[in-house]
C-alpha cells in the first residue's frame, strides 16, 4: 500500500464509555504493528456518560457535538472533517468493538486501486468469514431492504445495514452535502448507486458487541423498516456523475 494517501477512520460514539478506549487502542496498536498511518477522529454525539472524559484524558482526537444529532448527523460531521483536512479515504468504524481492525485494509484496497468508490464490510459475502451473523428476524429485515435496493438500483447489496464502510474523495464530498439523518447506511448506499458510483461489498469479520446495546431496538424495528423502504422507494435518481 502506498503511504501518501491520507486515510481517516471516523468513529461515531454515543455513550460508549466502556468500549471507546479499547477500540481506539486497537487501531493505534495496529498502526504500530503494520506501519500504517490510519488517522482517527471520534465524533462524540452528545454522550451523557463519561465518553467525553475518556476522550480528553487519553488525548484521543475527537469532535464533541454540542448536542445529540443521531448517527447520521454524527457521521456526516466526520465526513466534513475529512473534506476540510483533505483525506483521500474515510472509513466509518463502530466504537463498540463490533468491527475488526484487521479488515480495514481490505476495505481500503479497492478504493486505492480505483476499483470502487465505496466498499461495504459485509457479514454475508463469505458465510464463514464472520463469527457474528445477527438474529434471524434482523436477517430477514436486511434481506427485505436488500430486495428493495435491488429493485431500485439493479444492484445486489447483501449486508445493507453494515456500519463498516469506506468511501473515496468523491463520496466524501457528496456526503458532506447530503446525508440521511436517520438510518443512514442503506439509504446512503442508494444515494451512491443513484449517482452511478461503484459500490463493492467485502467479506469481513464482525464480533458481538462487547458492551451496551445496539442502537436498533426490537420495538423500533418496524419503524426502521417502514422508514428505510419508503425512503429508498421515493429517492429520485441522481445526476450521472461518474462514468
Amino acid at each position: 500500500m502506498k503511504n501518501k494517501e491520507k486515510i481517516l477512520i471516523i468513529i461515531p460514539a454515543y455513550n460508549e464509555e466502556k468500549n471507546i478506549l479499547s477500540t481506539y487502542q486497537e487501531i493505534i496498536n495496529y498502526n504500530k504493528k503494520m506501519k500504517t498511518k490510519y488517522d482517527v477522529i471520534v465524533i462524540n454525539d452528545g454522550s451523557y456518560d463519561k465518553t467525553e472524559n475518556i476522550l480528553k484524558d487519553n488525548k484521543i482526537p475527537h469532535i464533541s457535538l454540542v448536542t445529540n444529532l443521531g448517527i447520521g448527523g454524527a457521521v456526516q460531521t466526520g465526513y466534513k472533517y475529512a473534506l476540510e483536512n483533505n483525506y483521500d479515504v474515510a472509513i466509518q468504524f463502530d466504537g463498540d468493538g463490533q468491527h475488526d481492525v484487521n479488515c480495514i485494509k481490505d476495505l481500503v484496497k479497492p478504493i486505492l486501486d480505483k476499483k470502487a468508490n465505496m466498499t461495504i464490510g459485509s457479514r454475508f459475502i463469505k458465510k464463514d468469514s464472520s463469527e457474528f451473523q445477527s438474529s434471524q428476524l434482523r436477517r430477514i429485515g436486511i434481506k427485505m431492504i436488500s430486495l428493495v435496493i435491488k429493485l431500485k438500483t439493479k444492484k445486489k447489496i447483501y449486508d445493507t445495514t453494515s456500519g463498516f464502510r469506506a468511501i473515496d474523495k468523491n463520496l466524501i464530498k457528496l456526503f458532506t452535502e447530503i446525508y440521511p439523518i436517520e438510518y443512514p447506511e442503506p439509504i446512503s448506499t442508494v444515494y451512491v448507486l443513484n449517482h452511478n458510483y461503484k459500490v463493492d461489498e467485502i467479506g469481513v469479520n464482525m464480533k458481538e458487541r462487547k458492551e451496551g446495546k445496539s442502537s436498533i431496538h426490537t420495538w423500533k424495528n418496524f419503524y426502521y423498516m417502514i422508514n428505510v423502504i419508503l425512503t429508498i422507494l421515493l429517492l429520485k435518481r441522481g445526476k450521472k456523475n461518474a462514468k
Binding site: 469532535i63 444529532l69 456526516q76 460531521t77 476540510e84 439523518i181
Partner: protein, 112 residues
C-alpha cells in the same frame, strides 16, 4: 345557512385578518407565513358573505347541510396549515444539524 352563523363567520374572519395584519406590522410574523393565514381568513369571510356559493357546493359534494361544508372547509384549511408547519420544522431541523456540526468542528479547532 342561518344568519347568526354567517355573522359569526364574518366577525371571526375579520378578527383573524386584523390580527394577522397587526402581527405583520409589529414585525412578529414574516409575510411568507402570514399570506396563508390571510388567504384562509378571506375564504372564511367569503363563506359568510356569499352563502349561495356554499349552498351550491353543499349539494354538489353531497354534504347534508351547508354548516357541515363550512366545518369541512375550516378543517381542510387547518390541515394545510399543519402540513406547512411540518415542512417548516423539517427545514429548520436541517439547518440546526448544520449549525451543530459547524460549531462543534470550530470548537475542536479552537481547543487544539
Amino acid at each position: 345557512m342561518q344568519s347568526n352563523l354567517r355573522i359569526l363567520l364574518v366577525v371571526l374572519s375579520i378578527v383573524l385578518i386584523i390580527t394577522t395584519l397587526s402581527l405583520i406590522a409589529k414585525n412578529k410574523l414574516p409575510i411568507k407565513y402570514s399570506l396563508f393565514w390571510l388567504v384562509a381568513s378571506i375564504v372564511v369571510l367569503l363563506v359568510g358573505l356569499v352563502p349561495n356559493v356554499i349552498t351550491f357546493f353543499t349539494s354538489l359534494i353531497g354534504f347534508e347541510t351547508s354548516v357541515n361544508l363550512v366545518t369541512g372547509i375550516i378543517l381542510g384549511l387547518l390541515l394545510l396549515i399543519t402540513l406547512l408547519l411540518t415542512i417548516i420544522i423539517s427545514e429548520q431541523k436541517r439547518k440546526i444539524i448544520l449549525l451543530v456540526q459547524e460549531v462543534s468542528i470550530l470548537k475542536e479547532k479552537i481547543n487544539k
